[in-house]
């Protein structure tokens, strides 16, 4: 079980359910900074959370938070590996598996640990990176054929033979607004060469790395275009997965990010909009130094807005008004305490960001196994109770 393995409960032949169309209207109304019927809500769930949630709430082993709570949107991931190929199993025991993936990364997945470890990479020099020839970004197999892929397959869980992306989209389409997604260059580099090499080579050879960033940017732009085409008529939006910041600030200077990384986010966003798809950008960490840039690029909503990195939706709303939508920011560390009073304060305070629309309620990254099932159940009840418009939060009302 993992974060991206939700399959729809039925393949619809007859189009979407009225409830799904209501959810879509809710989501799009919020993203256009108008007030819908209630605040949209969803999240990204660790597989280990889902198991815990099933056990604690006495739910069957196939129960899924998206269906159980009728959440308002879901994201899907195609095969974004540069090389479309099965994992090569290097070692396998009852405790862990070591595979080489389509990014050429040697992944160590300990089954008891939430995250895998990337220890080595085939592409271990700048010269190799410059010479690397990837498979066709528009290869239809990425969207229409099942198989191994790193992002869906090696994360909080371990899965081989991920179902074809288009079948996942079709299966979810009747019941949810479905977003496609693409990684941007930063996420590719982390998997292709390792984050430390990426940073080191950016420092050492900024222009050579800039040329590589542009090549990879074009690669994923073409892949995004092909994905939108493959999902035509079935997608309701697009997520761009990025990772350019941490607790303190951006990994690289904002100047370097603006020169090499930003243009590709801008291009993909523009392309999505041309296809009628709103864009949610996912980028961890403290992005305050470049937040205005996302507004300038007309990204529709920013996710996840990590509270532990100092991001706060109320402050952001006060600073930027309705310039951009927000998706996330409810502090998972508060959720993990199980302290109902603290959780109530946290949830209600963050719902202030929903005034005037422009907010999707989610955690500030993903729902970990340290959150109890009952806590999540409580949180959803709070959001549904207090998320009806007009928003009235009593003692937790804040002026924006």
């Amino acid at each position: 079980m993992s974060m991206f393995d939700t399959q729809g409960q039925a393949i619809s032949q007859s189009g979407r359910k009225p409830n799904t169309l209501r959810k879509l209207k809710r989501l799009n109304t919020a993203l256009t900074h108008q007030e819908p019927d209630r605040v949209p809500v969803s999240d990204f769930f660790w597989g280990s959370f889902t198991k815990r949630w099933q056990q604690e709430l006495n739910l069957p082993p196939d129960a899924n938070p998206y269906y159980h709570y009728d959440l308002d949107w879901i994201v899907t991931v195609p095969n974004m590996d540069p090389w479309i190929r099965p994992f090569v199993t290097l070692k396998e025991t009852a405790e862990k598996v070591v595979v080489k993936t389509g990014f050429g990364a040697i992944m160590h997945k300990h089954f008891e640990f939430p995250m895998p470890e990337m220890r080595d990479w085939e592409t271990d020099s700048l010269e190799k990176l410059e010479r690397a020839k990837f498979d066709d970004p528009t290869d239809r197999r990425r969207f229409t054929t099942g198989g191994d892929n790193q992002i869906a397959g090696v994360g909080d869980g371990f899965h081989r033979n991920t179902p074809p992306w288009i079948e996942t989209v079709r299966s979810l389409h009747p019941d949810f607004p479905v977003y496609g997604s693409i990684i941007e260059v930063s996420e590719c580099l982390t998997r292709l060469i390792g984050q430390q090499n990426a940073m080191l080579w950016m420092g050492e050879e900024p222009e050579r790395m800039g040329a590589v960033i542009n090549r990879i940017g074009e690669f994923y732009f073409q892949m995004a275009r092909a994905e939108m085409e493959a999902g035509k008529g079935l997608l309701d939006g697009f997520v761009i997965w990025g990772d350019v910041a941490y607790k303190k600030c951006t990994f690289m200077s904002p100047k370097y990010w603006r020169e090499y990384f930003k243009p590709w986010v801008a291009k993909i966003t523009e392309l999505a909009h041309a296809n009628g798809l709103p864009v949610i950008y996912h980028g961890c960490g403290n992005v305050k130094a470049i937040f205005q840039d996302y507004i300038d690029m007309k990204v529709d909503a920013y996710n996840p807005l990590e509270a532990k990195a100092g991001m706060d939706v109320i402050e952001l709303r006060q600073q930027y008004g309705q310039g951009i939508g927000f998706c996330g920011n409810s502090n998972i560390q508060v959720w993990e305490t199980g302290d109902r009073e603290a959780i109530r304060r946290e949830v209600l305070r963050k719902l202030n960001a929903a005034k005037g629309g422009g907010y999707i309620f989610q955690s500030d990254h993903s729902v970990s196994s340290a959150v109890s099932g009952r806590t999540y159940d409580y949180i959803l009840k709070l959001v549904r109770e207090y998320g009806e418009y007009p928003i009235r939060l009593g003692d937790f009302d804040e002026r924006l």
């Binding site: 160590h108 300990h110 008891e112 640990f113 939430p114 995250m115 895998p116 470890e117 984050q195 430390q196 940073m199 080191l200 950016m202 420092g203 050492e204 900024p206 941490y246 607790k247 303190k248 600030c249 951006t250 990994f251 690289m252 200077s253 370097y256 130094a289 990590e306 532990k308 990195a309 998972i332 560390q333 993990e336 970990s368 196994s369 340290a370």
Partner: protein, 211 residues
């Protein structure tokens, strides 16, 4: 005699080749290794840390500077050991059990080495027993732990308990850091120091050991 400010500048600018060349020449000219470290290398890394804190330097610049410093230090270290010179303190550094992230830890290692500390890098997924062993067998007097996930943070407390049970808690200072870690959490578990960032780790270590 060459101008040793070149060593300072090489580290500051992340030029490992020049740092090595200048150090080799300086040692050939019988420069005092400890003076090289204290008057040129440590101040260079201190300035790197300051620029990093001020967002003038970012992770690429810090990694390059650390590599330049490490390159020079590799030439000097055998001479320091032979002379009996001691590091400011010996730090057992690792990402805690169940956590496999390492870039933050690696940045901390770089800054601590640049600050005159000897770093025993235990890697990732470090068990409490491994931290205890580093103290008992390698003489670490600081234990520095990193965690990136809220679900792995509790391993910091488990490690502190292991140090206590091994009877060595009082002989070490414990520092903690990582994305979900706060001063409040550090205080709750009884850590001796906390740093928000890699650059701040040196100050935290200095304060903890009273250097």
């Amino acid at each position: 005699m060459q101008d040793l400010k070149l060593l300072h500048e090489a580290i500051l600018s992340g030029d490992a080749i020049t740092a090595k060349a200048v150090t080799e020449k300086a040692l050939a000219e019988k420069a005092d290794p400890l003076k090289l470290v204290r008057e040129y290398m440590m101040p260079a890394m201190s300035e790197v840390g300051r620029r990093f804190e001020c967002n003038e330097y970012f992770v690429p610049e810090l990694l390059l500077a650390a590599r330049a410093m490490k390159t020079a230090l590799e030439l000097i270290r055998p001479l320091l050991i032979a002379s009996g010179a001691k590091p400011t303190a010996r730090v057992a550094l690792g990402t805690v059990k169940g956590d496999l992230h390492d870039i933050g830890k690696n940045l901390v290692a770089a800054m601590l080495e640049g600050g005159g500390y000897e770093v025993i890098d235990l890697g990732v997924n470090v068990t409490p027993e491994q931290f205890v062993a580093a103290v008992k067998e390698k003489g670490a007097n600081i234990v520095a732990m990193s965690a990136l996930l809220t679900t792995t943070m509790p391993a910091m407390k488990t490690t502190m308990d292991a140090l206590q049970q091994a009877g060595i808690r009082q002989q070490v200072k414990v520092l903690v850091g990582g994305a979900p870690i706060t001063q409040k959490y550090a205080d709750e578990i009884g850590a001796d120091g906390f740093s928000e960032s890699a650059a701040g780790a040196v100050a935290a270590a200095k304060k903890a050991v009273g250097a």
